[in-house]
């Protein structure tokens, strides 16, 4: 195994669209891996066999063996299973085997009305549930061709950025634990719990909020939300310094992460990889900045990019994206307008409870919305948002009825998992743990 050189010299970041591999000129090894993702045969990094074929597979070279990792392996983030073809401790080919959490959520989505749909999609990516709700709601609203009130948009942004903070803190916790810094879990969990407490106060639930719904959000922000948010925002930067102290400068941390699981921009684009993985290669693509939705064009923040596309860059990007999110939340607090938190279209929004006692129409609307659901004009749309893991898209086909004819969620974790075999090739099995961890897949979203 040839070691990949790292941290040698800084280069200029590439222009958007102009793909250059950061380490292209440094070694011949790097130029070789430019086309590795297109390989089909035995030299590919992927062990392209079905499960039973892998079980029966005996490598011809008797130094090689096939080792099964997972699905109950503690570092595989739930139920990811990897089949590794190894030579000694070096991984030659591998294949992620998924589907252990498959519960047919897309099929379920076809049985639920648009109002119920958010309850379903929120269970996909359980560490950043508000983003799936947002993608689903935006897609439904695009089909309905309605505009949600300003306050609803800003509340959605607030919730999403808080969720991004909690999701990245979860990453810090699990990443540290996977690599052996068990203390990280305590710190990461403590910080995340504070954010979740605020989310619970606003939505009523720690996870699976079902808060962002077609037409707006479920409820207005509760009393004292501003103080609670400010409290978290003022505590967090100091706590993030702790993370820097614990990890960022530590030699052991560098040894474990730097130069491990290297991938370049070209490969990321070919594989459809998005989010922090793509940005770690120095490619500044963030949907919030480049194809803004909600009011992300009205807030000021930086898109963070790495240089080397290794595990360390992915760790550092996620840590610093928390800081950017804090910046965004401060601006949201300033700009939060007053007004309605959901659209006043009576056909879509259920009437307030008190109106039902007074008005026959309100009763009828309430009955219709909750028994039959509101009808959505026929058509099909794809809407994408930037989740903490990358592009989370929702594709809905409507036939004009109250339930989606087809509801598909494009989960970033699902697509991002495809880089695993390429990152793992020629790596040590101990590095596999670090690589899986920094890809940060959420299996609920992978398997749906």
């Amino acid at each position: 195994m040839t070691p990949v050189p790292y941290r040698s010299n800084l280069r200029m970041l590439p222009e958007l669209g102009e793909v250059t591999s950061m380490t292209q000129n440094e070694t011949t090894l790097e130029s070789e891996i430019a086309d590795r993702v297109f390989r089909r045969g035995e030299d590919s990094a992927i062990l392209r066999m079905s499960e039973s074929e892998i079980q029966a597979y005996k490598p011809q070279d008797d130094r090689r063996m096939v080792v099964n990792m997972g699905p109950q392996h503690p570092s595989t983030h739930g139920v990811l299973r990897l089949s590794l073809e190894m030579e000694g401790e070096t991984v030659i080919r591998s294949k992620p085997i998924i589907g252990y959490l498959h519960t047919g959520m897309e099929k379920t989505g076809e049985q639920l009305s648009y109002l119920q749909g958010a309850t379903n999609v929120t269970r996909m990516d359980y560490s950043s549930p508000l983003f799936s709700e947002l993608a689903f709601s935006l897609a439904t609203e695009k089909l309905l061709e309605i505009e949600v009130p300003e306050r609803a948009k800003w509340i959605r942004m607030l919730m999403c950025e808080l969720n991004r903070i909690s999701s990245h803190l979860l990453f810090q916790a699990t990443n540290g634990m996977d690599i052996g810094a068990v203390g990280a879990m305590i710190y990461g969990w403590r910080e995340r719990e504070e954010v979740l407490r605020l989310l619970e106060k606003i939505t009523g639930l720690r996870m699976n909020h079902n808060f962002i719904r077609p037409g707006g959000v479920a409820a207005d922000l509760p009393d004292g939300w501003r103080d609670d948010t400010l409290q978290i925002l003022s505590n967090l930067p100091e706590r993030l310094e702790d993370f820097d102290g614990l990890f960022t400068g530590q030699p052991i941390w560098h040894e474990r992460l730097q130069g491990v699981g290297v991938i370049n921009s070209e490969e990321c684009l070919a594989l459809g990889v998005t989010g922090p993985l793509l940005r770690s290669t120095g490619y500044a693509w963030d949907l919030r900045k480049d194809m803004p939705y909600l009011h992300y064009d009205q807030v000021d923040f930086d898109v963070l990019v790495g240089t080397y596309g290794d595990c360390f860059d992915r760790f550092a990007i996620r840590l610093n994206e928390i800081r950017e999110s804090i910046r965004i939340v401060y601006q949201i607090l300033e700009k939060m307008p007053s007004g309605d938190y959901r659209t006043q279209d009576k056909k879509i929004t259920p009437p307030p409870r008190t109106r039902i006692d007074e008005s026959m129409e309100a009763l009828i609307h309430h009955f219709k919305i909750f028994t039959e659901g509101f009808k959505v004009p026929a058509g099909e749309v794809y809407v994408a948002v930037e989740s903490p893991r990358g592009e989370l898209g929702c594709y809905i086909v409507s036939d004009g009825g109250p339930k989606p004819y087809r509801m598909h969620i494009r989960g970033p974790s699902f697509t991002n998992l495809q880089v695993l075999p390429h990152m793992l090739q020629n790596a040590l099995v101990a590095d596999a743990v670090a690589v899986i961890s920094t890809v940060d897949p959420i299996m609920g979203e992978v398997d749906r």
């Binding site: 669209g17 297109f38 066999m49 990889v273 693509w285 004009p377 026929a378 058509g379 697509t415």
Partner: protein
Amino acid sequence: MTEIDPQEDNNAETETNSAIPSDQTMYEVPISNSRGQTILHPDRDQYLDTIKKLSEDGFKVCIDVTAVDYLENPERDLPNSISPERFEVVINLLSHQKKERLRLRIQVPESDPVISSIFDFYPGSEALEREVYDLFGIEFEGHPDPTRILMPENWNGHPLRKDYDAGAIPVQFKNAPGAG
């Protein structure tokens, strides 16, 4: 009670025609428009050429490959030259330079659910195509690893097809054995 409000149904019917099929073309392929999003409708036989043109024209990322089974809903907005089939493979492409998305909808007949794989242009479509094969039974010709991905290997049927029943297990809430 449900019959009190007839107006709602009228509204839904008048709005169904909002995406009017057009006869325009783009990359020599008929296009349509749904809520402001551009959709290309290439032929099944020629679509690899379209994919090639698009990938050379800056659409470097294949964001999503999925499919729709139009068994229960054969009527939909399509350009006049395209005849509807039971399955539709939907490919989402993204151009970072132009900052725009294009969607390809390719008709796939029920009798011959086979379509060429786009692996050679977008290797990232590998898992997505496997998912479509697994859940819809549409085969991708030239795919390097045509195996199931989400369902168990020995599973019968393709769950996201509309003639595949959703199924439900009755749940006993009261007087369940073992419940205190």
